[in-house]
């Protein structure tokens, strides 16, 4: 359709100079329960098609749904983590539409009574700015099945001859989180959108309510965007870009829609309220269906399910189990460790937070832990193209390594060799030190032998040092370090050299 048509775009910077972007984000998260929302079919990623379904998943006549209590608990957890009110009572509703991945011809969702509402989430941007996103609601619903389009050249709907449907995913519990219009982000709207979804993802993981893997579609974002002339103008007409499923794409989809809508408005046109599709390959959006009015879905209360009325006691019990959330934890650790803002950001971005925390817990100082993970180990991860957390050394081993340095048994240079051994699978640092014979030579007698040899080899330097020129002393120390294969304490060598010459 319009996928290949050329679309006018206004340069992004130009667009945000003349228009104020307003975003709204709907995030769906698949809950990590063992069974589906309304039936006890097991949920397991990657099962053979249609092997995780029951009569309820298929919407067979007479099948009756029963709510998964765990899913309600998880939804409340999410609501509380997003600073929401939890409904005293709420009910499910049927959202009626026809599509092959919805076997009942309706999705069981919540409409006028979401389980959680009126919350907010503080999102940290890359430069450390905190941006508050207001949450309108979080409601419970179920996922749809999966269509695979057969025929046609690209596997897309367009040109397909028929479709195959797998209902394994139909009925997996979802929580949909809807923001209020996010204003005031200005040119940083794309960054805010990405950071918001990223923060949510971190929270889902911290709460242990979902594996929250973007690449598996556990977390999916729909991004609404509209432009208005000034922050004082009424909201413009919005488009909803569906299923933007990576952080990078969220940022790019917002940028693209800003540029596209600005071009439409510049030409005196009107933005059409519609669903748009994000194309990962070309990084553009194309028009989808014109958005249905809510009334077209003919929502009505689900007669087969009784209301959910979480007692205040239960809500408070759940609140008491909430773990420390990522931003709070980061702030606490930064305070405890005394890292500068930029250092802390680098640590977080490198995925080293957990590793450093564990290394500190195993006895290393925060500064030493950071030095290892952000230095030697970060370089190693980069050259071996692995994640920091995946490399073959544990935080405990790093703490042991640092303890060896602190006790003076090895120096920094030797420590790097010990680390090599640990990474090569030669065992714990202690074992590598012993096996490779890497201990610092602390026996002065052995050092003096090496020093005397070095001094005898370079009498001119001895003269210079005697006459007060300490510069060339480094050459002697270097020769001694070389003779001891780096296993000497350079400071001690220096002392001894001065004594000897002096």
């Amino acid at each position: 359709m319009s996928a290949h048509a050329t679309v006018d775009l206004v340069d992004y910077d130009e667009a945000v100079r003349r228009y104020d972007p307003v975003i709204g984000i709907e995030v769906h998260v698949e809950l990590g329960t063992k069974t589906k929302m309304f039936c006890a079919a097991e949920v397991e990623f990657g099962g053979e098609p249609n092997t995780q379904v029951t009569p309820v998943s298929l919407g067979l006549p007479g099948a009756l749904p029963v709510v998964n209590g765990k899913a309600v608990e998880y939804a409340i957890k999410i609501g509380l983590a997003l600073n929401c009110q939890i409904a005293e009572s709420c009910r499910f509703a049927r959202k009626n539409y026809f599509y092959p991945d919805v076997p009942k011809n309706f999705q069981t969702s919540q409409y006028d009574e979401p389980i959680a509402f009126d919350g907010y989430l503080d999102v940290e941007l890359e430069d450390g700015t905190i941006f508050r996103v207001d949450i309108e609601r979080a409601h419970m619903e179920e996922d749809a099945g999966k269509n695979t389009h057969v025929g046609g050249s690209t596997g897309r709907i367009h040109g397909a001859e028929y479709s195959l449907v797998d209902y394994n995913r139909a009925g997996i519990p979802l929580v949909e989180i809807v923001t209020r219009p996010i204003t005031g982000a200005g040119e940083r709207a794309p960054e805010v959108a990405r950071a918001y979804v990223q923060t949510l993802r971190d929270i889902f993981r911290a709460l242990d309510v979902s594996e929250a893997r973007m690449e598996r579609g556990n977390v999916r974002a729909d991004v609404n965007l509209s432009l208005r002339a000034t922050p004082e103008s009424p909201l413009g007409t919005r488009t909803e870009t569906k299923n933007v499923n990576s952080f990078r794409s969220i940022e790019r989809a917002v940028r693209y829609e800003v540029s596209r809508q600005a071009a439409v408005l510049d030409e005196g046109g009107t933005v059409i309220q519609e669903t748009r599709h994000w194309h990962e390959d070309t990084s553009i959006t194309t028009a989808g269906r014109v958005k249905s009015d809510a009334e077209d879905y003919r929502y009505f209360p689900e007669p087969d399910l009784v209301p959910v009325a979480p007692s205040r006691d239960w809500v408070e019990q759940i609140r008491a189990t909430l773990p420390e959330l990522p931003v709070a934890r980061r702030n606490r650790l930064q305070g405890e460790w005394g890292y500068a803002d930029a250092e802390m950001r680098d640590v977080v971005n490198a995925g080293a937070l957990d590793l450093i925390e564990a290394t500190v817990a195993a006895g290393a100082s925060p500064a030493a832990a950071r030095k290892w993970w952000m230095g030697e180990l970060a370089r190693y991860a980069k050259t071996s193209e692995t994640e920091l957390a995946e490399i073959a050394v544990t935080p405990t081993q790093i703490a042991q390594l640092q303890a060896l340095v602190d006790s003076g048994r090895i120096n920094d240079k030797l420590a790097r060799q010990v680390l090599e051994g640990v990474l090569a699978g030669e065992g714990d640092p202690e074992a590598v030190v012993v096996a490779r014979g890497l201990e610092v030579v602390s026996d002065d007698g052995a050092l003096l032998t090496a020093i005397d040899a070095a001094l005898a080899a370079q009498p001119d330097i001895v003269e210079k040092v005697r006459s007060g020129n300490m510069g060339p002393i480094g050459a002697i120390i270097g020769a001694v370090m070389k003779a001891t294969k780096g296993q000497a304490d350079a400071g001690r060598v220096r002392e001894l050299v001065i004594e000897r010459i002096g």
């Binding site: 092997t51 009569p55 029963v66 998964n68 209590g69 092959p100 028929y162 479709s163 195959l164 449907v165």
Partner: protein
């Protein structure tokens, strides 16, 4: 007083995927009118202090434990499928999206 127009019946019919003939549109507009009028009478009686009833049973929080049961065998799942392929339901080309 007619409150339901023929066009509204046609629109709802499209949403519900019901194929109606022209004479049925007229007849149903009249019948739906009667139903809407009847409900309007109830609305007159209902006062704000009477909450709407969506569930007649005085029950809440009917939950199930999160414990899996064996699924339906895939042969049974596909037994009622008009057509299937590779363990999946085969459905006609999907139109109207994208």
């Amino acid at each position: 007083m007619s409150t339901i127009s023929r066009d509204e019946v046609a629109r709802v019919a499209v949403l519900a995927r019901i194929d109606l003939r022209p004479e049925e549109l007229d007849r149903l507009a009249g019948e739906l009118d009667v139903i809407v009028d009847a409900i309007a009478q109830v609305s007159e009686v209902a006062t704000p202090d009477v909450p709407a009833t969506s569930h007649p049973l005085p029950l809440t929080n009917v939950f199930r434990d999160d414990v899996p049961v064996p699924p339906l065998p895939v042969e049974d799942v596909l037994a009622a499928a008009p057509a299937s392929e590779d363990g999946r339901f085969s459905v006609p080309q999907i139109l109207g999206e994208e």
